[in-house]
Amino acid sequence: MSDKDIIICRCEDITREDIRKCMERGFITFEDLKRQLRVGMGPCQGQTCSELIKRELADFLGEKPDVINTHKTRPLVIGVKLKSIKAGVDNES
């Protein structure tokens, strides 16, 4: 099986090979992987990849996916231009 041809996070173009290498270097939580690889930080904010990443972590650690914590969700749900936020604030006053 070729891990470099398996896309895990399609927003950031991260493969299973990237994830496995990262875990082997000791980054073994979702938050670690997010900071190292930007997984879950693209347009879908992890909605698509988070189940797959949890499974990768679970396999690596010999755990069940249920016990792996998902990454912290922060505003906003999708990308919003700073220009739009500024205009929104200006319109309020």
């Binding site: 896309i7 990768e56 912290k72 922060r74 999708i78 205009a87 929104g88």
Partner: protein
């Protein structure tokens, strides 16, 4: 900042049903939906629904959507509908921010109903990014909404009701469905749907999954492999299908982001599809007057989403001091409908999931 009574986020079967009941009770309601039209997933469902009369059984999905939308017309003075508008932020002080095009707007809503639904799960296999690998929902949108056929031959991955129904709809559209593969040892969806597919000559291979897609610029073939009872691949059982569509239908995960960012208490419940909010028996979350309904509180069907929506609208109205004239009767009716819908063998996942959700910790 705009002040409103009730914001409903998501205008699918759950959100529309919630709006109807809340409007009847006299609330001013705003529905926010990121799509071009209301109706959620119903608008691409060309098949007739099951269930009882109350949930529009025997009616086609897109007709159900139409009926739900039409029912709101009498309340138009108290209803604002924002289409192509995404709710992008939810905060502890009841502020909801939305984005429509490039316009960012802040609202404060006394009560909020989250009916964001769910999105399709994906699978990790070799070349899973080749053009021709589709989610079942995308295939349904292309065919039933836009009249576009995505290819000539398909392999369906997943035998839940969506996988079975979309396989049938692909055949209706003239696509040859080579087979359905299912990783679990048995078929996931209703027997009546599976039987229809089998009668049309399409094999359903259980304990089998997709191993790799093959192709240069797009899918040209797909290789499947059988799985043992521990879900490990059995070497030597690979089978190659020449196909240009690999359709993935392996379940849905709730769109939890708004709830999570407001730090509403969540729990991971596999039976409900993933991360869901901890709720009381009326689907109120740990954030007072914030309710959930539909797939965001556990992936089920449109029938239960509609009843949950009605329930959310009813309770939200009461909590805002505008009790629905038929409150007690409606409450009994909705709770009974939900329990009936989940009573059969196919409701077991939801029953187990809800028990896990409400039975442990401080499930309010």
């Amino acid at each position: 900042m705009k002040e409103i009574d009730l914001m409903i986020i998501g205008g699918g079967p759950a959100g529309l049903s919630a709006a109807k009941v809340a409007l009847e009770a006299g609330l001013k309601v705003m529905i926010v939906d990121r799509n071009m039209s209301l109706g959620g997933q119903l608008i691409k469902q060309t098949h007739k629904f099951f269930g009882s009369e109350k949930q529009y059984a025997k009616t086609r999905g897109f007709d159900i959507a139409k009926r739900l939308i039409d029912k709101l017309a009498v309340h138009k003075d108290n209803l604002e509908i924002c289409l192509e508008t995404t709710a992008v932020g939810l905060y502890k002080d009841y502020v909801v921010t939305t984005l429509q095009g490039e316009t960012y707007t802040k609202y404060r809503s006394k009560s909020i109903i989250i009916a964001t639904g769910a999105s399709e799960k994906v699978l990790a296999f070799e070349n899973n990014d080749l053009p021709g690998v589709y989610g079942a929902g995308a295939v349904q949108t292309l065919m039933n909404l836009y009249g576009v056929i995505p290819g000539k031959k398909a392999l369906m991955v997943g035998s839940g009701n969506i996988g079975l129904i979309v396989s049938y709809q692909m055949m209706q559209a003239g696509i040859e469905v080579l087979a359905i593969v299912e990783a679990a040892p048995k078929i996931g969806g209703y027997k009546v749907h599976a039987a229809k597919i089998r009668r049309l000559g399409v094999p359903i291979h259980t304990s089998t999954t997709v191993k790799r897609a093959v192709g240069k610029d797009q899918v040209e073939a797909v290789v499947t492999v059988e799985l043992d009872e521990k879900w490990k691949e059995i070497p030597g059982t690979e089978k190659t299908y020449e196909t240009d569509i690999v359709c993935i239908s392996v379940g849905l995960s709730p769109l939890h982001q708004l709830l999570s960012m407001a730090e509403i208490e969540m729990r991971y419940i596999p039976e409900l599809g993933g991360l869901v909010p901890i709720v009381d028996e009326f689907n109120e979350t740990s954030m007072e007057k914030v309710f959930v309904c539909g797939d965001v509180i556990g992936v089920e069907e449109a029938s239960s989403a509609m009843v949950e929506g009605s329930l959310a609208g009813l309770i939200a109205a009461k909590r805002l001091g505008k009790e629905h004239p038929e409150h007690e009767a409606r409450l009994d009716d909705y709770l009974k409908q939900l329990s009936d819908l989940r009573n059969g063998p196919f409701g077991i996942k939801t029953r187990v999931g809800l028990k896990k959700l409400r039975g442990v910790g401080d499930a309010r």
